[in-house]
Symmetry: C2
Amino acid sequence: MEVYAVIMAGGIGSRFWPRSKKKKPKQLIRIFGENTMIQDTALRLNDIVKPENIFIITNVVQKERVEEQLPHIPKENVIAEPFGKNTAPAIALAAKIIEKRNPEAVMLTFPADHLITNVKEFHKTLQKAINFAATSDGLVTIGIQPTHPETGYGYIQFDENEIGKGIYNVMNFAEKPNFKTATRFLKSGDFLWNSGMFIWRVDSILNEIKKYLPELYDGMTALEPVIGEKKFDSLLETVYGKIRSVSIDYGVMEKSKKVFLVKSSFGWSDVGSWEAVYNLSKKDKNGNASVGDVYTKDVKNSYVFSPKKFSAVIGVENLIVINTESALLVCNRENAQDVKDVVDYLKLNQRKELL
Amino acid sequence: MEVYAVIMAGGIGSRFWPRSKKKKPKQLIRIFGENTMIQDTALRLNDIVKPENIFIITNVVQKERVEEQLPHIPKENVIAEPFGKNTAPAIALAAKIIEKRNPEAVMLTFPADHLITNVKEFHKTLQKAINFAATSDGLVTIGIQPTHPETGYGYIQFDENEIGKGIYNVMNFAEKPNFKTATRFLKSGDFLWNSGMFIWRVDSILNEIKKYLPELYDGMTALEPVIGEKKFDSLLETVYGKIRSVSIDYGVMEKSKKVFLVKSSFGWSDVGSWEAVYNLSKKDKNGNASVGDVYTKDVKNSYVFSPKKFSAVIGVENLIVINTESALLVCNRENAQDVKDVVDYLKLNQRKELL
């Protein structure tokens, strides 16, 4: 059994402005420790997937940096989409490319910008999912045991009858809930966080894409003869120009009858905002986390990032301060989601130098 | 009657970090409008004092910038003290220099970095004080009618028996009070804010300095023969090396029996902190004042200064954000006095580039 991995790295991470920019989004920056998010994502696959079996789906503006950050992965495995069309086209494209190498391979799909704290447990979960996917035509996802009523994640409801050790039938996918609903989900015990990680055989996912997204399937099939050829890029652009934008969740997972999950709890976060970064950072006795050249006095429960310039912060609580070379963000932790409004404002005002 | 003015511009303004630096303290920066504080101070003397009769007492590091900012004032009138020794030596030095030109002149003394909003009223007050000082041997100060129980100012208690229109005998000088005492001062009606502005004949102040600070008087008298000569600077350094640091308030005004005040209310502030700047700035409907390239969302009663770099501020209240090319300050308005702690920290850590 051969295992391939696909790392999806097309996001723009507007909630991480001003650190994330169009050319350097969340997955390409160092948020925790020495590695960028995508480097950690690739490193976690060591011992499970050979570097030549790892594919990155990214876009034209990020391709070069992705290659720089992942020098162990062959350049021909870094695929740039001409336009972002959400996850279903990215996955279909990757599946078609892998199919050409080995149509019976198991294909793992991961977002490039998530944090996993217990890698050993992650590996165990993955192995379980790989074994199940390899011997079935199931589409397997990883459901994370929720630790709190998070409103920033989608949820998956599962049938409590185990069909294998820690493997369950998926009943329903639920969009990001409000707080009340999230609390109910948590209490019910049969809802898990939707991690956005998938494990399936290449032929299994391609069959389901053919069934539920036939136009997408046909578009990608048209690419088959030119995979690895010079014509690939221009034909890819033509195909992407025609297909519609759709997520794999909405387009396939919510419709397919063959969806399973592996339940796990390996310490996972999609690191969706500066508030998440604060929560996941190591804090001092005042509950502060800081990076760089920072002075604080009477400051509590705050996150200060100021690697290049000296920042003095005095008499505040629950504040996020992101001081980069190009711009400054000062934001109440409760308003961390509003950072995308700044990005919208900058787009509207054509402040391209800040995006 | 000839009138001279002395502008005292030796302060370092550490409460205005990171805008004020050793080489560019508060008096040399634009805080309100187009002019620097010292430019406004000099402009206010138009029609009252001829430019060639205006002296600036500053220090070696600031001298060049003072000359640049006040091109209408003769360079020989910009005197650099070799070391800061508080206000009494600065005033004694200026008095000796003016004495050489005209020992019977009236000498006005002003801090370089105060804000006056009603210049017409200021002129009226000044004229009244000049007329009184010219025809007496009194030391006249300006007492400002308090508008609130300010704890950042010194107070002057006066004898309510007018000795001329709006002119009173001074009873006592009081240091910066706590809030309770300031409230009592305000209620009592016979306490005014100590503006630090003085009006006297040159011979009147020199007589009182001779009486109460004889060593200082003797030191400055030794300079007499070399005023305007090449030897002046080196002898000045010798004299300053010997004299002690003392304020004119403590050294003379609190001891002299000839102290008077003119009571006025021309809209005055010593602009002692970023909190004062916030209070004196024009605000929008959310109570915010901002300078430069600033985006705000859900922000109230805050001051944001960011002239060179884009700053986005979200979901905060009562915050001061000063984003300069060299450093960033984020400070609760209530903690505006603590900014000097940052300066102390930077001194201790020899971060000269930030001071």
